[in-house]
């Protein structure tokens, strides 16, 4: 079933982002399409350098410029193209409609401001409230993420990593955004508290009726938290669908490779199969499929023609020539 238009909170179409550096142009995002429905969590999966963080920053129109430039595409938030927003509209949108949780809680907090002040700062910015009211709400947020509100007057260095991440979550959710972007929120944390943080974020999102774009390379996290999955490779989406669709029926050779390189309880004793080779250099313009050099099923067509995302029933879509009708007979299931 295709979601109706009203259900779509964020729609990214044909996004191109590049970084013009002294050494040359880096094509970070090349024709990315992504949709996030209301109250859904979408996981953006891919390896380091696939362009996940750049995608996230683009949604806030916060790609560092220079050297970053969004060269093409539209990003519609509730039907409004945020790439056409002026400075004031952007400031109103950031934090209020779309908020972001950054990777590293150790550096995401300002060391010379108390945590209470940092949460209140965002509240006071987007709501017309007095300073004391903002601080009151900040303390509420602290309680919500499980920190005693008596600690609002403390500084980040007095908190542990997990606690800091909770503060970062409190800042991001302080203005009840419609979309939360979580950029690898658990990567920098201890394994023992990763799950705890994810449950916390998920609960708050669900209770607040928010959508989330979860950026991660951890497929376990994806399975636990997200409704939909988008697999990213070399600046574009190569496969997307609901979590069940993608996990049960992995279509793209890259997705298959990702899963095969994970340890699995059912395949105990077997060797892990890493994907051979490296992601293509993002400074080169790629002709054909970007995964072709590493793909076991590579065909002549893959080297010449770039595959586009095509739906394979339901919401499951894949960008691979193997599933194109005209070449399907040579493919996996052929």
């Amino acid at each position: 079933m295709k979601p109706s238009h009203d259900d779509v909170l964020l729609s990214v179409q044909d996004l191109h982002v590049q970084y013009d550096t002294d050494a040359g142009t880096v094509y970070a995002v090349t024709g990315l399409d992504l949709e996030i429905q209301r109250k859904h969590t979408v996981a953006l999966v891919g390896e380091t350098g696939a362009g996940k963080t750049t995608t996230a920053l683009s949604i806030l129109n916060l790609v560092p410029n220079p050297p970053g430039v969004i060269t093409k595409g539209t990003i519609l938030l509730d039907g409004q193209n945020i790439l056409e927003f002026g400075a004031e509209e952007l400031q109103k949108m950031r934090g209020n409609d779309v908020a972001m949780i950054f990777q590293d809680p150790m550096t995401a907090l300002n060391p010379v401001m108390t945590v209470g002040e940092q949460i209140a700062e965002s509240i006071a910015l987007h709501n017309d409230v007095s300073e004391s009211e903002a601080m009151k709400r900040a303390k509420n947020m602290l309680r919500l993420v499980g920190i005693d509100d008596g600690r609002a007057g403390e500084y980040p260095h007095q908190f542990s990593g997990g606690m800091r991440q909770r503060v970062v979550i409190a800042i991001a959710l302080a203005c009840k955004p419609r979309l939360l972007i979580a950029d690898e929120p658990t990567t920098a944390l201890d394994v023992t508290i990763q799950a705890q943080q994810l449950v916390l974020i998920k609960d708050l999102i669900t209770n607040g009726g928010m959508s989330m774009l979860l950026i991660t390379h951890d497929l376990g996290v994806v399975a636990e938290t997200s409704d939909d999955v988008a697999v990213m490779y070399s600046g574009r989406i190569v496969e997307r669908g609901t979590t069940a669709e993608v996990f049960n029926d992995r279509l793209h050779p890259y997705t298959q490779g990702l899963f095969n390189s994970l340890p699995n309880l059912r395949k105990q004793g077997e060797e892990l199969q890493p994907i051979k080779g490296m992601m293509p250099n993002p400074m080169e313009r790629i002709v054909g499929c970007p995964f072709a050099p590493r793909c076991e099923h590579v065909m002549d067509r893959c080297l010449k023609e770039e595959p586009v995302l095509k739906e394979q029933g339901g919401t499951h879509a894949v960008a691979c020539h193997l599933y194109d009708d005209s070449t399907a007979k040579d493919g996996l299931h052929g």
Binding site: P66, Q91, N96, F102, T107, A108, E121
Partner: protein, 294 residues
């Protein structure tokens, strides 16, 4: 009676400022420096109220010239019979005003220019830094001599000349710290929160780049006091008969064989003031260094 609960007992937490102050108090040198500077500031304020400039500070009394330190004149009198003690106390006004004034103006201009260069980078950075490098390459005293000889000798022109040399080092320091802080995640997160650029700079970048600047302030005040005294010694600083320490030292040179105290006492005044500032600066540098947290 209400029993204290976690909710209503204020958590003991120290801000960076309180923490720095606590660590500063552990440093004996810094305390000595602070006490001396405090006395000097009090002397500077009171001497303007107590002493009459025309009669006691610059008024000549030839009958009592060249008297060695005694109960009546505890630092003695100079070649024109003026009480050196009064002149030293009054002279602290010049040294402190020129030192603090030039550093204050240099601080504001230097930090703004450095922050702009570090924050925006590119051509803006190149222009600001290359001009700054040019000024930096010329010895301080030389720039001051040129400016003072162009504009004429006056206390204000001296201050202006020294401002230039202060500014250059503040530009370098603030640019370097803004550069390192600009890339931090909390700055990015402040933008993601929707803060406008000027607020990000004012609330997140500058407060975090202050430590090295604070240290530089104390050390530079000392250098500027020496520079001001040197220029006065050369006769292009504070014009006579004002009791500037460098000028007093210079005027005592002719009597150095029979009344060395005329030179020694202003010299010691300069020495102790600058030493105190350096002790305080060293103490601050240690206290502000997060790696030394105890």
């Amino acid at each position: 009676m209400q029993a204290p609960t976690i909710e209503n007992t204020p958590m003991k937490s120290r801000s960076q400022l309180q923490e720095t102050w606590r660590r500063l108090l552990k440093n004996k040198g810094a305390i000595i420096g602070m006490v001396f500077l405090l006395l000097l500031i009090i002397a500077a304020i009171l001497s303007g109220i107590i002493f009459d400039y025309d009669t006691q500070v610059i008024g000549q009394d030839i009958k009592n010239r060249l008297q060695w330190p005694s109960r009546e004149h505890i630092f003695g009198t100079d070649e024109l019979g003026r009480d050196i003690f009064i002149r030293i106390l009054y002279g602290s006004r010049y040294s402190l005003a020129i030192g603090c004034g030039s550093v204050a103006i240099g601080l504001v201009t230097g930090v703004i220019l450095g922050a702009v260069a570090g924050f925006y980078g590119g051509v803006v950075d190149q222009v600001i830094m290359r001009v700054n490098d040019m000024l930096y390459a010329i010895p301080n005293i030389m720039i001051a001599v040129v400016i003072v000889s162009l504009l004429g000798t006056s206390t204000f022109n001296l201050l202006l000349a020294l401002t230039f040399t202060c500014s250059t080092s503040f530009v370098r320091i603030s640019r370097a710290s803004v550069l390192s802080i600009r890339g931090m995640e909390y700055v990015e997160s402040a933008y993601a929160m929707g803060l406008p650029t000027w607020k990000v700079i004012l609330k997140h970048i500058i407060p975090n780049s202050l430590s090295p600047i604070i240290v530089q302030v104390t050390l530079l005040i000392g250098s500027m006091i020496i520079a001001a005294s040197s220029l006065s010694f050369l006769g292009i600083g504070v014009p006579s008969p004002a009791p500037e320490w460098g000028a007093m030292l210079s005027s005592g040179r002719s009597q150095i064989r029979n009344a060395p105290y005329i030179c020694v006492i202003p010299g010691l005044a300069i020495l102790f003031t600058v030493l105190s500032l350096n002790l305080l600066g060293d103490g601050l540098r240690d206290a502000l260094d997060p790696k030394l947290k105890k």
